[in-house]
Subunit: 321 residues, 2 copies
Amino acid sequence: MNALLKLLPIKYPIIQAGMVYVSGGKLAAASAEAGILGVVGAGSMSPDLLKHHLEKAKSLTRHPERLAVNIPQLYEKTSEQIEVSLRAGIKIIITSAGSPKAHTTELKKAGCVVMHVTSTPELAKKCEDAGCDAVIAEGFEAGGHNGRDEITTLVLIPQVVKAVKIPVIAAGGIGDGKGMAAAFSLGASGVQMGTRFLATQESSAHENFKKLVIESRSDSTMLMMKKVVPVRLLKNAFYEEVKALEEKNASKEELVALLGKGRARLGMLEGNLSEGELEAGQIAAIVSDLPTVKELVPRILREYDEAVKNLVRVSEWEKKA
Amino acid sequence: MNALLKLLPIKYPIIQAGMVYVSGGKLAAASAEAGILGVVGAGSMSPDLLKHHLEKAKSLTRHPERLAVNIPQLYEKTSEQIEVSLRAGIKIIITSAGSPKAHTTELKKAGCVVMHVTSTPELAKKCEDAGCDAVIAEGFEAGGHNGRDEITTLVLIPQVVKAVKIPVIAAGGIGDGKGMAAAFSLGASGVQMGTRFLATQESSAHENFKKLVIESRSDSTMLMMKKVVPVRLLKNAFYEEVKALEEKNASKEELVALLGKGRARLGMLEGNLSEGELEAGQIAAIVSDLPTVKELVPRILREYDEAVKNLVRVSEWEKKA
């Protein structure tokens, strides 16, 4: 049996990523209803706002057991966010950034399933050693924050699968059933999709931002800000400013100053496409519509089945000879 | 029937990449014998040396029809290399760098199958329009020369498959049968593997270089020299020099001066692991032995079959529910 389905109370081994400003209660609930893991992205939320989104999510689904929270361990509020999540009855926590040791023991004691995001096989092993139940291995093509070694999903997944015994969820560059079949071929037990769920009716991304994502082409994103923390951005006026600074070999401080405060909120939530920071993955290039989650999930599953069905065995090739 | 097997007189839809200093007549012949496309890498060869390698390849295989030449259109000698290849009876030419329009018509008139290497869906379309019979779509994780848009194989392949009707061969980040199954899931009709064939008994890479490749880890390569032409390198002392210059925001001219002449030859052929330029792909991390091509190809096919066999259909997941 599929290792992720054994671990989580979901029907299909798909995780809707918990993205800042994008993954609120509405999106998470729609995902839970569709049979996959619905993740609220706590990174952009105060504990109070997180509480609000979790209550909203619970009110919109008959499957609250399929709800999870993604907590990037970047801020002082991490402990409070964990507390709010546990009090809301959330039993599945995804941690990212920082050490998997920071909160895994405490979360396991509270009865949670814990998954940590990794961009290297070495960190994946540390996640397993820290007691995590699964790892989400995210490649270079992913949107938003990214690893420093620039390892792509295609190369990362087999290494992580080899490094750990716990289930591996592939993330980065997956936006349809074909990508899902590719990830499973590499030994993943599940996939996490971000940009694909950003471009749904239920995501809380601004309509302008959604529109830009579905119009994206193959060269529309780039990994930037490597001196601060690598982040994959859609190319817009803000990106051009970052690029110009980087070409001048600007310092980390200058980049942080340009970033300022609220750029991500400005772009992703408020829809200011020129001055805002717009995080998206390379897969934006193949995302071209705005379905409901209810329409999207069965479509991905059909594409997956079709991709698997189309794979022929070596003996088929040998018939020609 | 598999589109690449229809196009080429090979048994399995695998191309052994034509790598500078690595892919000589011996390697190409061993590949042809194993049922795949054996490619001589002309990039590092004078027309006379190319002639020598083609004669050698033909003398070592009963399947000269499975031999091809990779000609990077970077040098003045391109036309001479084409002439030498045609005179040696080669009927399959892979062109890379430069425009697919440059030589495709002439090669088609000479009765050749022509494939061009691309790193974007837009260029893939131009290849098709220029009359190419197939495209080799190569992602960011590939070793050596690389595209400027940093599109990974996982994201690139579906876009190229959508952009053209001719067969698409996936390259970059593929080193075993699992990666091959992933590429086919994405719609590729074949795969090209470079670093995996570098680490074989028959490749002409220096033993020191081969050893370094099989000892590589997940973070052992990086895409460098973006101001000149992006190239993925193994990290060694030469890489550290490039990195130091780039961190100082060195000009293109300074980088070209550091590169100088003969660095690739020094590293890859002569085995100077500190001063030489060592081109390899991210997949070096999972390449860990030095088999003969005769051992390697059946192993890849077994892994591919195993990966395909292990993929379950959606209905299997639904049984749990």
